[in-house]
Symmetry: C2
Subunit: 243 residues, 2 copies
């Protein structure tokens, strides 16, 4: 399993992903699930993935190779004229990779499935964010649904639904995401630290602040410890049930 | 889907269940999912169910019929000498009902599955609580795992994990459960109000306070509205992330 969240804020895009992968519960490893591309003053793209690791690594490698050879750049995600076109390329690549492996004799192609969150901005347009399904179709975040989750989404959802604000600061967004991730880690063994993040500032057309939060990070420890107390206080502040 | 929680407290047992059942998302109804039996000064039993409604109703009807005919009472849940024996009878009944329907031509017997929470107390022993699986086996709550959830368990779990205390009052337990249920209702259409509850006081050997909380219940509305603000305040009280 995996947990990734992408959020659209007034001031930019926020991405956070965990790093745990597992084949069964007795075979776990750490892999980065977030990849970014930058063409300074033209575009920034960030992709996060949940699902079969072989599939998602193949998708990223294919997309990446096409951006490196200059003669291949035209149909590449670094040449596409809009975020919608980029999403289509990523989605087509994902579907192709899944189909290729599913044809190799395995009947259950769901084994090779993956779901992606793609966000970024291309000069001339506002930032956009998409959730891409294994079938190769996708949906876009909007005012009504300003964030996407993939992987183990349920434990961490209630706090996002309640506390997300479009005008929140990057600092508050990271705090909110750490609480959401911490709730998930506490409940599901197949989601784990460290967490990667990327904070893209609108109209900067440069990679924003990126970082990795490890299990022994003092700020994460303070949030994880403090949240339990804060929740109990919050519950205490509500009116009592009268029998 | 469904959401039911059973909790073991120092002062007794707490049960809460939602009432929504659905066949698809376009066919929803309201059914009670909690049943209680009482033999004053001898025993109190409460059963909650998640899963196929025909299965769970058949289980309850079979158990109930056997308690009513005096000559059948001996192998009944009202005659069994221990909570463990009661759990075994309930589990056997559940497995029989599932097998009977699964043999009727349908191959996917998972269609008829159900999971149960059984709690109660028989004179001479402390209160006990069990989670009963469709396979007919079961586990018992203990100090490490003092509550069980069935149905849509994920959205409402983080707050239970953080705020449950074995010495909490019934009033606080109902408040905690309402927050957990509210988080679930907000995220999953197939869990819905009204909620039923039963608060069994240890060594009373009488049905405890029972009630139903409707969507327009003023206390529920206060909790549901207040929890969003309380969560935001809780988040605000945590230290800020520094970029």
């Amino acid at each position: 399993m995996t947990y990734c969240v992408g959020m659209v804020l007034d001031r930019g895009l926020v991405f956070m992903s965990d790093t745990r992968t597992n084949a069964g519960v007795d075979n776990i490893s750490t892999f980065r699930k977030m990849t970014s591309w930058e063409v300074p003053s033209d575009r920034v793209l960030t992709l996060m993935s949940a699902g079969n690791l072989a599939t998602t690594q193949a998708v990223v490698s294919l997309l990446d190779e096409r951006t490196k050879a200059r003669e291949l750049r035209d149909p590449s995600i670094l040449g596409a004229p809009s975020m919608f076109q980029v999403a289509r390329m990523v989605a087509d690549t994902l579907r192709e990779v899944i189909e290729e492996h599913a044809e190799g004799g395995q009947r259950a192609d769901s084994t090779f499935h993956a779901t992606l969150i793609l966000g970024g901005q291309i000069a001339g347009s506002p930032p956009r964010m998409f959730m891409i399904y294994p079938e190769g179709n996708f949906i876009e975040a909007g005012k009504d649904t300003p964030f996407f989750q993939i992987g183990e989404t349920k434990y961490g959802r209630p706090i996002l639904v309640r506390a997300y604000e479009p005008d929140m600061s990057f600092e508050d967004a990271v705090k909110l995401l750490l609480v959401s991730f911490d709730s998930t880690v506490k409940a599901n063994l197949t989601v784990g630290l460290p967490f990667d993040y990327h904070l893209y500032e609108v109209d900067s057309f440069r990679l924003g602040r990126q970082g990795r939060i490890a299990a022994d990070d003092p700020y994460y420890e303070a949030i994880s410890r403090g949240w339990g107390d804060a929740l109990r206080d919050a519950l205490h502040s509500l009116p009592s049930f009268r029998l």
